[in-house]
């Protein structure tokens, strides 16, 4: 084995690993707050990537309309559920959140794709479109069954995943898309070539790790979100609005998924169903992190990326077999090192 190949593979692994880490964070975040295992995370990647790619090529992304449609459904669900405790304040809030926000994004997107908008605007707009989709999904699909068991929530996730994947095909078609790189800056360090794009991946991943760690470990609101996960009733008793926590977690996760998508789409072509497999790798990282720890998730994600890079070089046929089979011993080690005294489930 020569050093150049080793370094190249390692670099490749770390870059992919950083993306997986981002996705892992989204999963950990949502699970920690709502106990939902967010299988649709992959669709947020797809949505983010394809929205950004569409905007960059001057087309109106279908997700802008999708956000409006989902917002409307969420509005109806909300109105139905508050019909007995109806107040004008609630109506105003719901209208702003579910109707006006996506409508505004749609209008802005129409402006953006008419002229030549900068990458920054496109990114901001993509987040503005995909983030709320997460929130609306929580309102529509998960909030009514927030108290159900992890298993039921998981199956609901499967339903959402299937529906979104179908919608992705509907809105974006079967053609793959690719976007221009965010910057063209590049530098060579020895045999390695570091592009602005990969650098952006590292910077975004690292800053999100720090931000999430600060948010959950050191702010009252972050702690409130964690409290919701441990005990919903207890959290409500001390005045935490658990519904809001869930919505925020979903919005953040959708945003994180979209950022990952935006970061990858200049590097690889994304199809309507690409998100799922990428999301799964992030999922593995989250699993290894025990669906609880952000730093561990990050480390695991990088490890997954590296294992994947090396196995695709040495045994490309068995890349997936190796990546997925390697998790099992990790899980076993985690189970044995921290046995749970007694799980009270129902």
């Amino acid at each position: 084995m020569n050093t150049t190949i080793l370094l190249l593979l390692a670099q490749d692994g770390v870059t992919n690993g950083a993306i997986y880490a981002l996705l892992g964070f989204g999963l950990v975040l949502v699970f920690a707050v709502t106990r939902v295992i967010l299988i649709p995370q992959g669709e947020f990647i797809t949505f983010g990537a394809l929205t950004y790619a569409a905007l960059a090529s001057g087309k109106l992304p279908g997700t802008a309309e999708l956000a409006c449609a989902l917002g409307f459904v969420a509005f109806c669900v909300e109105m139905f559920s508050i019909r007995h405790q109806f107040t004008t304040g609630r109506l105003v809030r719901a209208t702003a959140l579910y109707i006006l926000a996506p409508a505004l994004a749609l209008v802005l997107a129409q402006f953006a794709c008419r002229g030549t908008s900068s990458a920054t605007i496109n990114i901001a707009l993509s987040l503005m479109i995909v983030g709320p989709i997460g929130l609306y999904l929580y309102r529509i699909a998960y909030q009514p069954i927030a108290h159900a068991s992890v298993l039921v929530l998981l199956i609901a996730s499967v339903g959402v995943h299937l529906a979104l994947q179908g919608l992705a095909l509907l809105f974006f078609g079967a053609e793959g898309m690719r976007a221009p790189t965010i910057t063209d800056v590049a530098a060579s360090i020895g045999p390695l070539r570091v592009t602005g794009q990969t650098l952006a991946v590292y910077i975004v991943a690292a800053s999100l790790i720090v931000a999430l760690w600060l948010f959950f470990g050191h702010t009252v609101y972050g702690k409130a979100l964690r409290a919701t996960a441990v005990n919903r009733i207890g959290a409500r008793l001390v005045g935490i609005r658990t519904v809001l926590s869930g919505q925020i977690a979903f919005m953040l996760a959708a945003g994180i998924g979209a950022i990952s998508g935006i970061l990858i789409v200049p590097m690889t072509t994304i199809y309507y169903d690409s998100g799922f497999l990428i999301g799964l790798k992030g999922f593995i990282a989250a699993i290894v992190g025990g669906l609880a720890s952000y730093p561990l998730t990050a480390a695991a994600a990088v490890a997954v990326g590296i294992v994947e890079a090396f196995s695709s070089f040495y045994a490309s046929n068995f890349k997936e077999v190796i990546v997925f089979a390697l998790i099992v011993p990790v899980l076993l080690a985690r189970s044995l090192s921290a046995p749970i005294m007694e799980e009270e489930k129902d």
Partner: protein
């Protein structure tokens, strides 16, 4: 209508279905698919719904079954009937390997682990040369009986549905047995089951293998039904779909598996074929399918079967007392003059916290000893040390002169120490009788096969009769067939005592037995405990009701912050200044 007749009626309807005139052949294909999925879902009902082990990997086991027969029939020319045992054996063996790893995963790691190996098995199918990679294997011969080759959907129908019905019956039998109760107790945590001798890891492995073999059977049928296999139907998507069938049907119910697969398969078919082909959009049906799934779960989070079953006139189980021969009692050992239980310098540290600090005390035969102390004094931890739930940091605990420290809970109850729990650990959706019968676990012998084939009835009758006897003894015979979760908390504690008595103990450990009882119920309990003592049992109890303790106990051990501060007869304890200080504060 009794359950037996309902099943017979169902079997009759299914048997007559294909001979009805005018049934389109396409319906038969659909019914075959429903049966195939129901077999897998049935395993999941046991594994996930009843046993609490969520598996996404069942499709992989279907694959093992299907590929085994595909390879053996096409490459080696074996008859399908010969490959059936081979398929089941291969599936079973691989299930042992995967199961040994999987059942050791705790909490959420378990379902995630099944996703992981499920995916890697799928990729293995699609990459291995001798399994035909992505193209799979075709040209698999059909199943045949004599000259009848089951080429059509209508002819293999009977094989598939016989398999479904027989497996359902075997599963129902298994659930209604000594092992079945142990499996049903798994979902509520291990402590209670292990305290009565259930080997929880082994029970989990058993259901895992059982579910895998059902999936393998489905895979074998699938291979001979389509006469070709490829990796796609054994991937992650399929694994998720099977789980989803079980949840939609009602994950805890055997017939929920059949109903669930009916709902899902038909729904998919309708969406695929008629309504949406007109719209031309290839994937719209999957959107609708996903949406319907979410709506269905919101409407019936417990699955559809319980809703349907509520309309069916099922007969309630007879309320007559179970009759059976008496179980053999524990052989009498000569305990005169020996110490029943000796705790010497037992210590338990959790990190830097010393929960039990070198505590020593003794219990002689036919003695009631109380362990008292303020909250957090280490009483329950002491219980957990004696019963093997926690490993002591140091110290000795021996019973009748033999050390029992370091033994697992299952072995300690075998030696004759049975317990109740401070936080009641009953299975709420099992009847009082069934809950109490878990206590008899070690006194029965029937295994899984015997239970499935109903060869365990004599053994079972004895166990249930013993359970009924103990329920009567604690005065709850009126509630015998109620669900344990519907009882008041005080009564649930009494149920726990009956369960402990079923283990035929020499020493009974009761953790706050009188909490939640009314005055006269407490008096009845005290009378019962005295009677048990006269019959030769010793009792160690933790209790906060001082009136109850002082009247009942002959010896009292007082703990405070993990340390024993006093020991003696009730009269001495009452006037002990240290005890008064611990309970009432320094100024008192």
């Amino acid at each position: 209508m009794s359950q037996r007749w309902s099943i017979a009626l169902f079997a009759l309807v299914m048997a007559l279905f294909p001979v009805l005139p005018g049934i389109p052949p396409f319906w038969m294909v659909l019914l075959d698919n429903i049966g195939l999925a129901a077999l897998v879902a049935l395993g999941l009902v046991l594994l996930t719904g009843v046993g609490g082990l969520t598996s996404f990997g069942q499709a992989a086991f279907c694959g093992f079954g299907a590929y085994t027969t595909a390879v053996l029939t096409t490459s080696f020319g074996l008859s399908p009937w010969l490959t059936l045992p081979a398929s089941l054996l291969v599936t079973g063996l691989l299930a042992v390997v995967l199961g040994l790893i999987t059942v050791r995963l705790s909490g959420h790691y378990l379902p995630l682990g099944t996703i992981a190996w499920g995916l890697s098995v799928y990729y293995l199918f699609s990459k291995l040369e001798f399994l035909g990679r992505n193209d799979g294997i075709s040209g698999i011969p059909p199943i045949s009986i004599g000259s009848l080759k089951m080429m059509s959907a209508g002819s293999i129908y009977y094989v598939i549905w016989s398999a479904v019905l027989i497996s359902s019956l075997l599963t129902l039998n298994l659930l209604d047995s000594r092992l079945g109760r142990a499996i049903r107790a798994l979902r509520r945590g291990h402590l209670a089951a292990e305290a009565f001798g259930v080997q929880t890891a082994r029970a989990k492995l058993l259901v895992f293998i059982y579910a895998a073999i059902l999936a393998g059977l489905s895979g074998w049928l699938y291979a001979h039904f389509l006469r070709a296999v490829n990796p796609t139907p054994f991937g992650a998507q399929a694994g998720i779909e099977y789980l989803f069938i079980a949840v939609v049907g009602g994950a805890g119910y055997v017939w929920g598996a059949v109903l669930g697969s009916g709902i899902v398969v038909i729904l998919q078919e309708i969406l695929k074929s008629e309504m949406f082909s007109a719209l031309g959009e290839g994937q719209l049906e999957i959107v609708v399918f996903g949406v319907l799934l979410v709506v269905l779960l919101q409407a019936a989070p417990g699955g559809v079967w319980p809703r349907v079953a509520a309309f069916w006139p099922f007969e309630r189980r007879s309320d007559k007392l179970p009759a059976g021969e008496r179980l053999a009692a524990r052989p009498k050992v000569d305990i005169a003059g020996k110490m029943l239980l000796e705790v010497q310098g037992a210590r338990k540290q959790f990190g830097g916290v010393v929960a039990v600090n070198d505590v020593s005390f003794k219990i002689s035969p036919r003695q009631i000893v109380a362990l008292i102390g303020p909250n957090g004094a280490g009483k329950s931890t002491t219980f957990n040390l004696i019963t093997g739930v926690l490993a002591a940091t140091s110290g000795k605990i021996s019973m009748l002169g033999r050390p029992i420290i370091g033994l697992p809970p299952q072995e300690i109850v075998r030696r004759g120490i049975a317990r109740t729990f401070q936080h009641v650990k009953l299975v709420p959706d099992m009847t009082v009788l069934e809950n109490v019968a878990i206590g008899t676990h070690l006194r029965g012998h029937a295994g899984a096969i015997a239970s499935m084939l109903r060869l365990d009835r004599r053994d079972e009758a004895r166990l249930l009769a013993e359970a009924a006897r103990q329920i009567k003894r604690v005065g709850l015979e009126g509630q015998m067939y109620q669900l344990a979760g519907n009882l008041a908390l005080g009564q649930q504690r009494i149920v726990e005592i009956a369960r402990a008595l079923c283990a035929d103990p020499i020493l009974l450990l009761l953790d706050e037995p009188a909490a939640g009882l009314r005055h006269n119920e407490k008096q009845q309990l005290a009378a019962l405990l005295r009677q048990l003592k006269h019959e030769g049992m010793s009792i160690l109890l933790v209790e906060h009701d001082m009136g109850f303790v002082m009247n009942l106990a002959e010896q009292i051990v007082v703990l405070d912050f993990g340390t024993k501060i006093a020991e003696g007869a009730p009269s001495e304890i009452k006037s002990n200044p240290d005890v008064v200080r611990a309970y009432l504060g320094v100024a008192a």
